[in-house]
C-alpha cells in the first residue's frame, strides 16, 4: 500500500496491462475484443489471449491471475465450474465468485443456451419438432461436443430427462460436429442459440419442451481488483449489461463466420455504432500473419529444445554413469510422456505462473521441454552404454580423468545417437507446438485452432501447411547438423 501511494498516478495501470481471455469460439472472441477495445479507449494497455481451449483453462488462468477477465455464461458457471453445488442465478453466483475474489457483470442481454439441433430438411421429413420427438428415432447418429458430454446438464441428464433411447453417443470437437452434420455423417448435435451456423447450414433448433436447459446468460467474469486498478474501465464494463440482444450477437457471429471479417473488426463496428467509440483495427496480411506464426513457433521450439538438451544430456550421462540412477531417471522422463498434452498444459498454468506473468508461451515451452526430455535422455544413455568395453577401458588405461574421457571420447562416440534423440525431439516438438494454440501461445496452432473454430479450411491450412514444411526443414537441417557434429571418423566407410 505504501508503495502504491508513493508511486506516481497511472504507473500502476501501465505496469500491469488488462489481460483478457476468450474461449475457442467466435462469440467469446468477439465479446473479449469488445472489452479490449473498451479498455484501450480508456487508455489502458491490454492483452487479448485469444481462443483458449476450454472453460477449465480460462478458470485456472483467471484464478492464477494470468488473465483478469473473460466472457462466460451463467449456465457454465453453475453447471460446470460449480457443478453439483446448486448455485444458480446471478446473486448466488456473485456471492460464490466473491469467495475467489472474483465478480461478474449482469447479463449482457442474451441467453446463449444449449439447443439440440438437426438439419431442417431431415427434421421435416421425420417430423421432429422437439427433443421429445427424438425418442421415436433411436437409430439417428447422435454426437455432442466433448464439453457437452461432460457437463452436469449435458447428455446424461438430457437422456434421462427425455428418456432418449440412443446408444453409442460420443463426443466430438464442436467445430467438427457442424461439418459432420452438414455432410450427413451425424444427424443430431448440440448447438449454441446464437450460433451463426444455424442459419448457414439450415438447422432446426429442437424445442426444449421439458425445459431441461438452464439459462446461459452471457456475462463477464473478472478479478475484483480490476475495480480498483481501472475504475473507469469497470464502469464501462457495466455499461455493456443488457446492451447486446440475441439478434445482435447472432449477426455479429455471422459477420465473422459467414462473411469472413475478423472478430476485432466486428467488435469495433459494434462499439462505433452503439457508443461512438472509434477503435483502430489493423488487419494484417496473410503473409504478415504467417511470418508471425513462424517466429512464434520457432521461438517455442528453439527455447524448449535448447532447455531439453541442457538438462536431458546431463541426465542421460548421469544415468549411464550411475547405474542405480538409470531406472529412476528413465522412468521419470517416461512417465511425463504419458500425461495427455492438454492436461499437462492445464496443469502447468499455476506452477509456471509463479515464474512468469505471461500466459501461453511459458506453459507451452515448459510442456514441450518436458516432452522433449525422453528421446534426448534415452538416446544419450543408450549411446553411452553402447560404447564397447574395449574402447571404454582403453580410455581409462591411458590415464585420462573421467571428465576428459566424457568430453573427448564418450560423448563424441555417442554423438550420432544423441543427435538422433535431439532430432526426434525437434520434429515431435514442431508438431506438438501447434497445441500452443490451445493456450494462446501463438505459433501455427493459432490459425489451426481458429480455423477449426471458424470451420474455415483456408485458415487451418495457414497453420497446417507451414507446420508440415517446418517439420521437413528441421528434418533436413539435422542431416546437415549430423555432418557438423558427428566426427568424421565415425562417418567414413571402413576399407576392409
Amino acid at each position: 500500500m505504501v508503495c502504491l501511494a508513493l508511486a506516481p498516478p497511472g504507473l500502476a495501470g501501465e505496469s500491469a496491462p488488462v489481460r483478457i481471455g476468450s474461449k475457442a469460439f467466435t462469440e467469446s472472441v468477439i465479446l473479449a475484443d469488445i472489452v479490449a477495445h473498451l479498455a484501450k479507449n480508456d487508455g489502458l494497455e491490454t492483452e487479448h489471449v485469444k481462443g483458449l481451449g476450454g472453460t477449465r483453462l480460462l478458470w485456472e488462468a483467471l484464478l492464477a491471475g494470468k488473465i483478469d477477465i473473460y466472457p462466460e455464461y451463467t449456465g457454465t458457471l453453475s453447471e460446470e465450474i460449480f457443478a453439483g453445488q446448486g448455485i444458480r442465478g446471478v446473486p448466488a453466483l456473485r456471492e460464490k465468485l466473491a469467495e475467489f475474489s472474483l465478480t461478474m457483470t449482469d447479463s449482457l442481454g442474451f441467453n446463449n443456451t444449449y439447443v439440440i439441433g438437426m438439419k431442417e430438411e431431415l427434421a421435416t421429413k421425420l417430423g421432429i419438432r422437439s427433443i421429445s420427438d427424438l425418442g421415436e428415432h433411436p437409430d439417428l447418429t447422435v454426437r455432442f461436443s466433448n464439453e457437452f458430454m461432460k457437463r452436469a446438464d449435458g447428455w446424461d441428464a438430457l437422456a434421462r430427462r427425455y428418456r432418449l433411447p440412443h446408444r453409442d453417443v460420443r463426443g466430438l470437437e464442436h467445430a467438427l460436429a457442424y461439418e459432420a452434420l452438414d455432410k450427413g455423417v451425424i444427424q443430431v448435435t448440440d448447438l449454441y442459440a446464437t450460433d451463426a451456423k444455424i442459419r448457414k447450414l439450415q438447422l432446426r433448433r429442437l424445442e426444449d419442451n421439458l425445459i431441461h436447459f438452464p439459462k446461459y446468460h452471457a456475462v463477464f467474469v473478472y478479478r475484483t481488483d480490476l475495480e480498483q486498478r481501472a475504475p473507469d474501465f469497470a464502469a464501462a464494463l457495466r455499461s455493456l449489461e443488457t446492451a447486446i440482444d440475441e439478434t445482435a450477437m447472432t449477426s455479429m457471429n455471422a459477420r465473422v463466420e459467414l462473411d469472413g471479417r475478423s472478430e476485432e473488426h466486428v467488435a469495433a463496428v459494434f462499439l462505433d455504432r452503439e457508443r461512438g467509440i472509434q477503435s483502430r483495427v489493423r488487419e494484417r496480411s496473410v503473409t504478415e500473419e504467417i511470418a508471425r506464426y513462424t517466429l512464434e513457433h520457432l521461438h517455442m521450439v528453439v527455447v524448449s529444445l535448447a532447455g531439453a538438451m541442457l538438462v536431458g544430456i546431463p541426465l542421460g550421462v548421469l544415468a549411464a554413469r550411475k547405474l542405480g540412477l538409470a531406472q529412476p531417471i528413465l522412468g521419470a522422463v517416461g512417465i511425463i510422456q504419458t500425461i495427455p498434452s492438454i492436461a499437462l498444459l492445464v496443469l502447468l498454468i499455476r506452477p509456471v505462473g509463479y515464474f512468469s506473468d505471461e500466459l501461453g508461451f511459458p506453459q507451452a515451452v515448459v510442456a514441450l521441454f518436458l516432452y522433449s526430455l525422453l528421446p534426448i535422455v534415452r538416446n544419450t544413455y543408450t549411446g553411452l552404454r553402447g560404447i564397447s568395453p574395449q574402447l571404454y577401458e582403453s580410455a581409462v588405461a591411458l590415464g585420462l580423468p573421467p571428465s576428459v574421457r566424457l568430453w573427448r571420447i564418450e560423448l563424441p562416440l555417442a554423438s550420432r545417437m544423441i543427435l538422433a534423440g535431439v532430432k526426434t525431439a525437434a520434429v515431435i516438438n514442431v508438431g506438438f507446438a501447434t497445441l500452443g494454440g490451445f493456450i494462446g501461445a501463438g505459433g501455427f496452432g493459432e490459425p489451426i485452432f481458429a480455423g477449426i473454430r471458424l470451420n474455415d479450411y483456408g485458415v487451418i491450412l495457414q497453420g497446417a501447411i507451414p507446420a508440415a514444411v517446418l517439420a521437413l526443414l528441421v528434418q533436413g537441417l539435422f542431416e546437415f547438423v549430423d555432418r557438423m557434429v558427428v566426427p568424421k571418423g565415425l562417418r567414413i566407410e571402413p576399407i576392409e
Binding site: 574395449q390 581409462v396 588405461a397 591411458l398 590415464g399 585420462l400 580423468p401 566426427p487 568424421k488 576392409e496
Partner: protein, 250 residues
C-alpha cells in the same frame, strides 16, 4: 617392476584369478600363456588397475595400486589390446597425442615424440592423419603401440597384440615387435595363447590354468622340466609351432 601377492578375482561364479603370487622383472619380457579363459587378460587388467582384486595387492615399483594413484601410475604404463582399441573418431595422430595434449605438451614436443615413434615402428607418416577405419590391421596395431609409448612408459602391457592379424603379417610384425622391445629395453608383459610366440618373445613364461599359475620359467624349463602333466599336455598340444621354433634360440 610388478609384485603381485595373493591376488584373487571372481566374476560371479568364475574364479579368474586364484591366490596369484608373481614378480615381474624389470627390463625383461614376461609372457602369460594358457588356454583361453584361464585368466591371462584378467591378470593384465589387474596390473593396470582396470579392475580391482578381491584379495591381495598389486605393487608397481614398490607402490601399491589404489583408486587414488591408479590414474597417475597408468601414465607410466602402456597398454595395447588385441584389436588396438583405437578411438574411431580420432585420426592416428589424435589417438597417439590424446594424453599428451591433455597433459599440456606443446605442439613441438608432441611432433618430436611422434617422429621418434614413427621411425621406431616403421609407420608410414601419411597414415597418421587417417582414421582407424582407413588403416589396415597391422597399421592399427602400430598406432596402438605408438599411443602406448607416447608418454615413454616404464612398462608395456600387451594383450594378444598380434592376435587378430593374418599369419603373414603376423610373423613380420613379430620380428619387428621383438626388435622394438630390444631397442627400448623396457619391461614388457605380453599375453598370448600361442606357445611359439611365447618362446619367441619371452624371457620368462608364465603358464596359467583356471586362474592359477602352473609354472614360471624359461621356455626351456617348460619343455625340459614341466611342473606337472598339464604343462606336458599343453606343450604337446602345440607341438607343431614348437617344431617351428626349434631353429630359433629362445
Amino acid at each position: 617392476m610388478f609384485e603381485l601377492s595373493d591376488i584373487s578375482k571372481r566374476f560371479g561364479t568364475t574364479e579368474a584369478a586364484r591366490a596369484i603370487d608373481l614378480t615381474v622383472e624389470p627390463g625383461k619380457t614376461t609372457v602369460f600363456i594358457g588356454p583361453s579363459g584361464c585368466g591371462k587378460s584378467t591378470l593384465l587388467r589387474l596390473m593396470i588397475g582396470l579392475i580391482r582384486p578381491d584379495t591381495g595387492r598389486v605393487r608397481y615399483r614398490g607402490e601399491t595400486l589404489s583408486p587414488q594413484n591408479a590414474m597417475r601410475l597408468r601414465r607410466k604404463m602402456g597398454y595395447v589390446i588385441q584389436d588396438g582399441g583405437l578411438f574411431p573418431h580420432l585420426t592416428g595422430r589424435g589417438n597417439i597425442a590424446l594424453t599428451a595434449r591433455f597433459l599440456g605438451w606443446n605442439a613441438e614436443r608432441i611432433t618430436a615424440r611422434m617422429d621418434e615413434l614413427v621411425s621406431l615402428t616403421h609407420f608410414p607418416t601419411d597414415g597418421l592423419d587417417r582414421y582407424p577405419a582407413h588403416l589396415s590391421g597391422g597399421q592399427r596395431q602400430r598406432v596402438s603401440l605408438m599411443r602406448a609409448l607416447m608418454l615413454d612408459p616404464d612398462v608395456l602391457l600387451m594383450d594378444e597384440p598380434l592376435g587378430s592379424l593374418d599369419p603373414m603379417i603376423r610373423s613380420k610384425l613379430q620380428a619387428e615387435l621383438r626388435a622394438i622391445y630390444r631397442a627400448l629395453g623396457k619391461t614388457v608383459v605380453m599375453v598370448t595363447h600361442d606357445l611359439a610366440e611365447a618362446g619367441y618373445f619371452g624371457d620368462t613364461i608364465v603358464l596359467m590354468r583356471e586362474g592359477r599359475i602352473v609354472q614360471v620359467g624359461s621356455f626351456r624349463d617348460l619343455i625340459d622340466s614341466p611342473a606337472d602333466a598339464f604343462v606336458t599336455d599343453f606343450v604337446h598340444a602345440q607341438r607343431s609351432p614348437l617344431e617351428a621354433t626349434q631353429g630359433v634360440t629362445p
